[in-house]
């Protein structure tokens, strides 16, 4: 155990502080997201990549900074940006899920073509997994792709596809081997959202905004080489992606930032002239959450260290999505309670404007429920923790179904 900053990290810290001093004024506002990055954000992101504060460990030949994985460096960077309340870079499905997947199983060509533009924010991706009839039972996906004259011809429908209405590309899970078993019949394709025959229809969510979509495929042509890892390997690739998605969703630095916002909310909101932080019932809820966030942060440090050492963290990693979304929801719940009646006015301005604080908290509060469902629901996470993490026997199969 050594959390002390040794000399090279102190130097890195000084360098980041210097960077923030010189360029911090160009940072977009922290928070928000779930919309296409604007020019200011893109410029900022490029600057971060150049300096190695984003895409740090991605090899140079793929457009990254090419540093060796180093947990401490990552922690120092995250810490400095959080401390200065400066935007620490884009997180989206392309950067957090597809890029690590391609680095793990993509071809040389795919890495060269997609990794760089994705980490710079120039290519936005969406994830085409769920279908109306196949959500939790993802391996049962029925959208099909047939190989004809060097092209995959895709037909079918995806649903709840986040960001599809502004994405450039999709990573798609589809059935290419109808004769094979459920899990062995899937492939993973990369395709342009501008492909003829592809239509994304925005689907309004409970927040009142259109954050996800229905996507229809009618004879959509995708070049044969746009497959990742090979025919029938889609289930494997999809799971590589999901592993990264679940870690992204349960991310501890988000919890820490939220806790800080929550503390200042309780320090400023008041009832009858008393600050909420001075009322024991509110303060106690805050303290409990602070304890949990501290545990979560420490757990995250442990996982990062294990990842850097190439250790498979097993059940310690599998709990992240379930535990993280529960904690996130309880944090936003306290925020909504602290806002109380004064926080009830709700007008979401959509994608092009900043919402007020109360609306933002309420959107987070609702979106947190969405996060419990998306990326494999809470129940599915518990199945995974129980069956793969604790090695408990599986549910007996229902007779007569694949």
């Amino acid at each position: 155990m050594d959390l002390m900053l040794s000399e090279p990290y102190q130097a890195l810290q000084a360098e980041i502080r210097d960077f923030i001093r010189h360029h911090g004024d160009k940072s977009p506002k922290v928070g928000g997201g779930r919309k296409r990055p604007d020019q200011k954000t893109l410029d900022w992101q490029k600057r971060l990549v150049e300096h190695g504060y984003a895409g740090r460990t991605i090899p140079k030949e793929y457009g990254g900074f090419g540093a060796t994985p180093d947990v401490m460096a990552a922690a120092v960077i995250a810490g400095e940006f959080a401390r200065a309340n400066v935007y620490a870079g884009l997180t989206n499905q392309g950067i957090s899920m597809l890029v690590p997947t391609l680095l793990e199983v993509g071809t040389e060509e795919q890495k060269r073509q997609y990794v760089g533009p994705t980490i710079r924010g120039d290519i936005i991706w969406c994830q085409g997994y769920s279908e109306p009839g196949n959500g939790s039972d993802l391996a049962n996906a029925q959208t099909k792709a047939e190989l004809r004259d060097g092209y995959w011809i895709v037909n079918g429908q995806k649903i709840w596809t986040s960001s599809a209405h502004y994405a450039d590309m999709m990573f798609l899970l589809c059935r290419t081997e109808p004769d094979k078993s459920k899990h062995d019949g899937l492939s993973y394709l990369l395709l342009s959202m501008k492909s003829p025959g592809l239509e994304a229809r925005p689907l309004k969510t409970m927040t009142g905004r259109s954050e996800f979509n229905e996507v229809f495929f009618t004879d959509v042509k995708v070049p044969e080489t746009q497959i990742v890892l090979g025919r029938g390997k889609g289930w494997y690739v999809a799971n590589v992606t999901l592993k990264h998605e679940r870690l992204m969703i349960g991310d501890a630095s988000k919890m820490t930032a939220r806790l800080e916002q929550l503390i200042s909310l309780l320090q400023t909101s008041e009832i009858d002239g008393v600050k909420l932080i001075g009322i024991s019932e509110y303060r106690d809820r805050l303290l409990r959450l602070q304890g949990e966030v501290l545990a979560w942060k420490a757990h995250n440090l442990r996982l990062l260290t294990e990842a850097a050492q190439g250790i498979d963290s097993g059940v310690k990693r599998m709990i992240i999505k379930y535990g993280g979304t529960m904690l996130g929801f309880r944090l936003s719940s306290l925020a909504v309670d602290a806002l109380g009646a004064a926080g009830l006015p709700y007008e979401s301005l959509g994608e092009d404007a900043e919402d007020d604080d109360a609306t933002t908290w309420n959107i987070d509060y609702m979106y947190d429920v969405g996060l419990m469902i998306g990326g494999g629901s809470t129940n599915i996470q518990k199945n995974i923790i129980g069956e793969r993490g604790l090695d408990l026997p599986r549910e007996p199969k229902v007779q007569g179904r694949a």
């Binding site: 155990m1 922690a75 303290l287 409990r288 501290l294 545990a295 442990r302 599986r394 549910e395």
Partner: protein
């Protein structure tokens, strides 16, 4: 940076756990729990071979000179075994008390004895420990008077390290004139609680700390982390037992672990408990290396483990069905261990109260 254990730490942990598995089979634990004094001469002696007693004692006084994290690992292993060993008071808190508040000469007198397992201190803390019961001790003319209830690790104490309300500490032999003790077997038969009364007992002050209250709080906080670590070990033991049971017990023609409801119960336990391990490590490390975070993380670790421990203890007992409620299975030793740890040195409510104080979050402000 490296957030994890060193090879030496893992080896120490392995050997301590192996030792405890060998020396504390269920029948032995039962036998030792009956008198409830929380101490066994043979076990105590044998543990000196592993160097447990001198863990925190500096090398020049015959110890290993290790840190609070090492001690937390030992506490976790002892909790896992429900071992009747007065580790927290006699080994950890007493050693730190001397290191923080005693003169070199006093350290030279007592620390080698602690390291050799020759004397067993119990630490009596005044009201700032945040326990219910009474705690009031006065110092006048080298003599102690007053009473402290609910002292831990004192079932076989040879000495008391008594803290005064201002943070000063004093040493007094348990058999000195004017010292009387009353032991209660506690709900946790592996550790008793003791009430100690001082009636003008002659004592020796430890006056070397520049800021006595700060030094005293550090001893308290480290004790809290040890209790949190003990709960972690005990809760992990209960969870492991429940998972194993769930893979064996058959009902409705299926092993019960294949029922989704039961699977979810266990998934919830592991989701709550696993981050606690990192939390305890972090808090323990902070005591030695991150002074700004030391108090806050200690209070939170004690509070959080108290809550998670209670949930895991209940749920894993339920998983065992009627068997879980029997004396026969012995699972209750760990349930009670966790219950004991929760109340000692300040319960979750009190520890969170202190966490609020540390951050300047005042009530009705």
């Amino acid at each position: 940076m490296d957030f994890g254990l060193t090879l030496e730490q893992r080896q120490f942990d392995d050997s301590l756990r192996a030792f405890l598995t060998d020396h504390l089979p269920m029948e032995r634990l039962r036998a030792l729990a009956e008198p409830g004094i929380g101490y066994d001469e043979t076990l105590w002696r044998n543990l000196t071979e592993l160097g447990l007693h001198g863990l925190l004692v500096p090398e020049r006084f015959g110890g290993a000179g290790l840190g609070v994290l090492d001690a937390a690992l030992a506490a976790e292993a002892l909790g896992h075994a429900a071992a009747p060993v007065p580790f927290v008071g006699s080994i950890v808190m007493a050693t730190l008390g001397f290191m923080n508040s005693a003169t070199e000469a006093q350290q030279d007198e007592y620390l080698p004895q602690i390291a050799a397992g020759e004397c067993r201190f119990a630490v009596a803390l005044p009201s700032f420990a945040g326990q219910t019961g009474s705690a009031s001790v006065q110092w006048a003319g080298s003599r102690l008077s007053g009473r402290v209830t609910g002292v831990a690790d004192a079932g076989a104490a040879t000495h008391f390290l008594v803290y005064l309300a201002d943070g000063h500490a004093a040493v007094v032999a348990a058999d000195a004139p004017g010292v009387s003790t009353r032991m209660h077997r506690s709900i946790d038969r592996t550790r008793p609680v003791v009430d100690v009364t001082f009636d003008g007992a002659l004592a020796e002050r430890l006056d070397a700390a520049n800021a006595p209250l700060v030094a005293a709080r550090r001893v308290l906080d480290t004790g809290r982390i040890m209790l949190a670590a003990d709960t972690l070990g005990a809760a992990q033991r209960m969870l492991d037992a429940a998972v194993a049971f769930a893979k064996e017990r058959v009902q409705f023609g299926r092993v019960i672990g294949s029922f989704q409801g039961l699977k979810y119960t266990l998934a919830e336990c592991v989701t709550a408990l696993e981050p606690c391990r990192a939390m305890v490590w972090y808090a323990a490390y902070a005591q030695d290396a991150l002074p700004d975070e030391a108090r806050l993380t200690a209070c939170h670790a004690k509070a959080h483990l108290g809550d998670v421990g209670r949930d895991v203890a209940r749920l894993t007992t339920e998983v065992h069905g009627g068997m879980g409620f029997t004396d026969l299975l012995g699972l209750h030793y760990w349930f009670k261990r966790i219950s004991f740890n929760r109340q000692m040195l300040g319960g979750p409510e009190r520890c969170r109260e202190e966490a609020a104080d540390v951050q300047g979050w005042k009530l009705h402000a």
